[in-house]
Symmetry: C2
Subunit: 105 residues, 2 copies
DNA sequence: ATCGTACTACGACGTTCATCGAAGTTTGAT
DNA sequence: ATCAAACTTCGATGAACGTCGTAGTACGAT
């Protein structure tokens, strides 16, 4: 019975709050995810990344990013394709994302 | 016996880590402090801000910001003057601070 | 020397968080 | 109809966090 396919809730642009975004970005694993997504405009299935956490932990992190408005997630087959919400973030907090990504290491 | 006056440790610019900075900024009270400091180049005693937390909680927040490298704190009389480490942050993460401050509300 | 102000250290408390494993759902391929 | 792969949900666990109150230290003024 379809529960997995129930639409994934994403905040509208106006609902994105800076504190939530910062909290979402303030975790090493999630930061690595964001960096990876930054180099894959098309989006990608985070499961392919070598993050060193279990699948259920990854689910938790991707949900945190999605609910904060940092990533957009769309189902594709048995996978979920995540992509950075660059336009929204740049519009709301111009420079923030670039600043984060500029951090070497 | 001077314990209060023992130098306040600040990370060098090279020691500032993006994850720590983001974590430091990801709290409503600390974000209000940073916003206030952004409009006071000279720095100010955070105790004067209407933050709605006790003095000991404020100490905790200012220490978090200082240890992350977001603010510089210098003793002055019985007070501590905090100021934003704008140069360091802009050099390390160009745009980040401006992006955070650009967030309306 | 005393006092008030500004801040800190310490300990406690409840909450949130990152993590995992086990069990379950969905989808696409066989 | 079966099966495997990708992901989710649930519950548990230990760590980190924000908050406070109490007690204490440092400094400036009286």
């Amino acid at each position: 019975m379809g529960v997995m396919t129930v639409v994934l809730p994403h905040p509208e642009r106006d609902e994105i709050r800076i504190a939530s975004v910062l909290h979402a970005l303030a975790d090493p694993v999630r930061l690595r995810i964001v960096r990876a997504l930054a180099t894959h405009e098309e989006g990608l299935s985070c499961g392919v990344l070598p993050l060193g956490v279990t699948a259920s932990t990854l689910t938790h992190h991707v949900r945190t990013l999605r609910e904060a408005g940092v990533v957009r997630v769309r189902p594709q087959g048995t996978s979920r394709i995540s992509s950075l919400r660059r336009e929204d973030l740049d519009a709301l907090f111009p420079g923030l994302l670039d600043g984060v990504l500029a951090a070497r290491r």
